[in-house]
């Protein structure tokens, strides 16, 4: 099931695999989406839903599945769910569900802006006696703080079990409700639900694939959670052909979150030191971050953290100075894109580096963002064409229409030429966590340079300028370990001789022992005593020995292809693949065999007495085993242990503090332990399930220039969604300057149903105007039956669609679609709600002419 994604158009190369599954193996492809796209054209089933109603649809599938005959009689499902999910855990009696509180959970603050998750927690057994009396290391500290195991009812009958709570929570998510709220015919919904149900089990698995059609909502994270829950209930996680596949957006964007270009992360998904949390000292940081997770593989957090800081500061990082923790930057709030631009607009941001980004077109409420750029003192734009962001000060629509004068813009703009993808060397990490080495084919021309060259050179210049400054806040830059000059052999065939060594960077990310600089082959060898360096623990193993880069391997087979590139962690392609075997360690079926327990095999290790340990997990396909290799299926974890010691032989989900897949999320998300249908922040209809209209804790910015529409605003009755085409990439910097691509999709167009077009006298291929409280744009009308009106609770709701690739520069020019959108975001990750808001349309150009 492809939902929240237009895979064929946005991931055309990856899409060959679903098609192959269809043509060679009879797989059924289903597309759940408001529009009929090029993906839908290749699928067997299309279930149309109104934008923003995904949780209703998915929740209804959950409801349908857990009440179905098949799920309740085929023993596979209960066996998987009881053993591998937290279905049997008991939740605090203080917990109140959305069914009890008109659409919110217990724990909502007085002002309704934030949740406390205390009432969402597990009921626990008493905490065990600590395994150590005196704490000598960070690990010891964790061992002193192990919580009691959660209480469970494996029969699932106790009303406080996660399972019963879920039943109650989704009870009203029926096929009738789907038809009423999503506008999707009942029969279509049931076809999708039954197809998933009947194609899950011992012998078959189903996959759910998504992308930004799910993430870019004020309930984005919760939508994805629903899919995770559904797949866990269907027993599809950790199994071949199953799982939830997140299609990442650009080349190496998976790598961009792994190595943390995000403000709130350290590489390897550690959290950034945060002045708002209890992170004052390094010990505080370790305890705050690790204690809640110590009973999972994250129990090794101290080793990951120390190795990271050692990588940053090298010799200057010592046990005495807490590995430089005190000098490391700390965040003080939400510094992601949207609030950063709000701060920029109020003059708080002085300077801005824009690399491979074009917020003048790609930013929500683009007029707001362009005006914010004018408040900077300076901005550095690195790109290969003069993007709209680089040119905003001289020819943005605001300047052309006289709203803003260039002489009033004090921003000093530096535009530097950047190298293109074929002119750069390094590893790519794509959607499936796969690292692949990417080779440099040619030098960039003249002064154009790669991002790595720029960043490295900038760092070197700064270090020089900071000289011997004694100030504390200069310590970090001065002591930054910054040594990536290339070996002569690496730059021999190129003109640019000071291009930094991508290999050295990757080796540092991989990790090595500080003393002898030998690469580490596994993260199990990381230490918390400062003897190991590791930029991102999840990547350890990509360079297992000096000179060997597993990302460069290119031996494929027709299945797992373990010798093609390197999948993190530890070349495991299917995460949590312990779940591909049943609780006793046998494969669920011969057909779906992946990882299983071989009780007779020599594990290759010996016990304390020197006797060889017998029994290990095996994967004949060469797949990495996502479990402790020698832990028997019937092993009972130590109540007072941490990490692998605490986890039992059935705790397949080794990164979760309880070793189980979470159907109910007692912590980690700020807007609720279970996904709940909330209407998009701007919607033409009220929430038909609850009194609570939209996500109560969604991030909003009530600042001038960012006006929101009312619910069911009569001035803006039409739903609009923004999305992408195959022919262009994001804001078009990589495509709109190329004649071959510009002529494929030359102009902005609006996809509109014939019903709405007729109502508004809009003619195909002629201009139409789309308007919100934020801005007004014109587009060509593309009148097509691939768009359809939805009947929501008896009322006709129209939807239009806008691909947002165009700006006013380049060879294909049109109005900026994001002039229409608004700053509003998911509260967990501050991702913007770009997939659904409201607008109005009329025939004719922006200025009134046809």
């Amino acid at each position: 099931m492809i939902m929240g994604s237009n895979m064929a158009e946005c991931h055309p190369v990856a899409f060959r695999w679903p098609l192959k599954a269809k043509t060679d193996h009879g797989a059924v492809l289903m597309h759940v989406d408001p529009r009929f796209t090029r993906t839908t054209a290749m699928c067997d089933i299309h279930a149309p839903i109104r934008a923003g109603t995904d949780i209703v649809f998915l929740g209804a599938i959950i409801n349908h599945v857990i009440n179905s005959k098949r799920w309740n009689t085929d023993s596979f499902f209960k066996e998987y769910v009881v053993n591998y999910t937290n279905a049997a855990m008991l939740i605090s009696p203080d917990f109140k569900d959305t069914e009890d509180l008109n659409g919110v959970f217990s724990g909502l603050s007085e002002d309704g802006k934030a949740y406390s998750n205390a009432s969402w927690s597990y009921q626990r057994n008493p905490a065990p006696k600590p395994a150590v009396a005196e704490a000598k290391t960070f690990t010891d500290l964790l061992l002193q703080r192990v919580p009691g195991r959660p209480k469970t009812d494996p029969t699932l009958k106790n009303p406080q079990t996660v399972y019963q709570i879920i039943r109650r929570h989704y009870k009203r998510y029926t096929p009738e409700m789907v038809e009423k709220i999503c506008g999707c015919p009942k029969e279509k919904f049931l076809t999708v639900a039954d197809t998933l149900l009947n194609n899950s089990g011992r012998d078959k698995t189903s996959n759910i694939t998504y992308a930004v059609g799910w993430t870019q909502h004020t309930v984005g994270v919760q939508i994805i959670r629903t899919a995770g829950m559904l797949q866990a209930l269907l027993g599809n996680i950790g199994r071949p052909g199953g799982g939830v596949l997140a299609l990442r957006g650009h080349a190496t964007i998976q790598g961009s979150t792994d190595i943390a270009t995000l403000y709130h992360s350290l590489p390897g998904y550690l959290n950034m030191p945060d002045a708002r949390k209890n992170h004052d000292t390094f010990k505080d940081f370790i305890l705050t971050e690790s204690v809640p997770l110590s009973t999972s593989y994250w129990g090794n957090y101290p080793k990951f953290a120390v190795s990271y800081f050692k990588a940053q500061f090298g010799d200057a990082a010592t046990k005495e100075n807490d590995y430089g923790y005190d000098y490391h930057p700390k965040i003080t709030g939400d510094h992601s894109h949207l609030p950063m631009f709000v701060d920029m607009m109020s003059g708080k941001i002085k300077g801005f580096f824009v690399m491979g980004q074009n917020p003048a077109v790609g930013g929500q409420n683009a007029r707001f963002q362009r005006k914010a750029l004018a408040k900077l003192d300076w901005m550095v734009v690195r790109d290969f064409f003069e993007t709209e962001t680089a040119a905003f000060w001289r020819n943005s629509p605001e300047v052309k229409e006289g709203e803003v004068k260039p002489s009033d813009i004090k921003t000093e703009v530096f535009f530097l030429p950047a190298a293109m993808v074929a002119e750069m060397e390094g590893s790519f990490t794509n959607t499936q966590r796969l690292l692949q080495q990417h080779e440099k084919a040619a030098d960039p021309p003249d002064d154009a340079r790669s991002d790595i060259w720029f960043t490295y050179s900038l760092g070197k210049q700064l270090k020089k300028l900071y000289g011997n400054s004694p100030k504390d806040h200069d310590w970090a830059i001065r002591n930054l370990y910054w040594s990536y000059d290339p070996e002569p052999s690496e730059v021999a065939s190129f003109r640019i001789k000071d291009e930094p060594s991508a290999y050295k960077v990757l080796k540092e990310i991989n990790g090595y022992t500080w003393e002898d600089k030998k690469p580490l082959s596994s993260f199990v060898n990381l230490k918390e005593d400062g003897s190991t360096v590791c930029g991102a623990w999840i990547y350890t193993g990509v360079i297992p020995e000096e000179g060997k880069n597993n990302a460069a391997r290119r031996q494929g087979d027709n299945w797992i292809s373990p010798n093609w590139g390197f999948a993190w962690p530890a070349n495991r392609h299917i995460m949590y693949n312990r779940a591909s075997a049943d609780p006793s360690g046998k494969p669920w079926s011969e057909k779906k065999k992946l990882v299983y327990w071989d009780a007779a095999a020599d594990s290759g290790t010996k016990d304390a007495k020197g006797k060889p340990l017998i029994g290990k997990w095996v994967a004949p396909s060469g797949e990495g085993i996502d479990f402790q290799p020698t832990k028997a299926p019937n092993f009972r974890g130590k109540d007072n242990g941490i990490g692998f010691d605490w986890l039992s032989g059935n705790d397949a989900f080794i990164m979760r503090a309880d070793g189980k897949a979470w159907l109910f999320a007692p912590s980690g998300l700020v807007d609720g332990p279970m996904p709940t249908h909330y209407e998009p922040y701007e919607s033409p209809v009220t929430n038909l399930l609850y009194k609570q209209q939209s996500n109560p804790v969604a991030k909003t910015w009530n600042v001038p220039g960012n006006p929101y529409h009312k619910v069911a605003d009569p001035d803006y009755p039409i739903v609009v969604s923004t999305y992408r085409l195959t022919e262009h990439h994001l804001t078009g910097v990589m495509t709109r300057w190329l004649p071959w691509l510009a002529e494929l999709m030359p102009e902005l167009f609006c996809e509109i149903s014939p019903e709405l077009a007729e109502e508004k006298s809009i003619k195909n291929a002629e201009y139409m105007t789309i308007e919100t409280a934020r801005g007004k744009i014109q587009a060509r009308a593309l009148v097509t039956r691939r768009m359809r009106p939805f009947t929501i609770n008896g009322k006709t709701i129209h939807e239009i669609g806008l691909p947002w690739h165009w700006g006013w520069q380049g060879r294909a020019q049109s109005d900026v679609v994001n002039n229409l959108s608004v700053l509003v975001a998911d509260p967990n990750v501050t991702i913007h709600e770009g997939k659904v808001f409201t607008c109005n349309v009329r025939a004719g150009k922006r200025g009134g002419a046809a």
């Binding site: 060959r16 098609l19 043509t23 009929f36 299309h46 030359p746 195909n764 009308a781 060879r811």
Partner: protein
Amino acid sequence: MAKGMFVDVSICTGCKACQVACKEWNGLEGEPSHFHKVPNVPYPIAFNFTGNSYDNTGSLSATDWRHVRFIEQFNENRSEARWLFSSDSCKHCNDAGCLNACPVKAIVRTDMGNVVVQQDVCIGCKYCIPSCPYGVISFSEKTGTVHKCTLCNDRIHNGLGTACAKACPTGSISFGEVSELKAKADARLVQLKALGHAEANIYGYTEAGGLNVFYLFMDKPSAYGQPEHPVVPQRRLFRSAAITVFTAVAVAVAALISFRERGAKKNEGVKP
């Protein structure tokens, strides 16, 4: 050994990678009629939006040697909903209208069966253009000659396949020996029919003497803008030549009768 391409439209996603790869390999520019100059902008701007589904290319031209078609088949209540895609190009016919029409032997067939235009021979008479039943070969104002897909003549004669087949992400376009491609197409047709696609058909086994670039369509050829039973124009030449000769003879005879020696015969009733 004839080389060609098999286009399986059932796995075409309409991505247009074939169009771009072709332009890239052959160094073709953006189609000139798609761009115009705009004041204060240093390069021509594209303005060729057609409103015809996702197809802004429109047709093959001297710089568009591949053209992806988009065919929306939706009834009013969307109970029948289908969007067909097909990547069109020169078919490299075994009986090629363009080759037959060329008066200077600029259009020739290579040892691999593909039909190419020798750019140094073509005089730009443009007679090949209306002679192609598929509307493929096109004239370039810039070069004064005609252009079309060459089946990547340089690539295939150096051990490589066509650029479009290489770029196609789903394998919809495949390059190889025509006999092997036919076996692949036949198998695929069987597979599709078994799945209930009764309208699926192969186009190009018999048309125009057999097409070296042939298709597996999911609907009638006319749905894809292709002629159902194309007649290569030169197959009609004998008949029209014969009738024209007959007419010439008749005119000659009429002239003879009109202008024969009348001798003593007077023309009655004719005033000067």
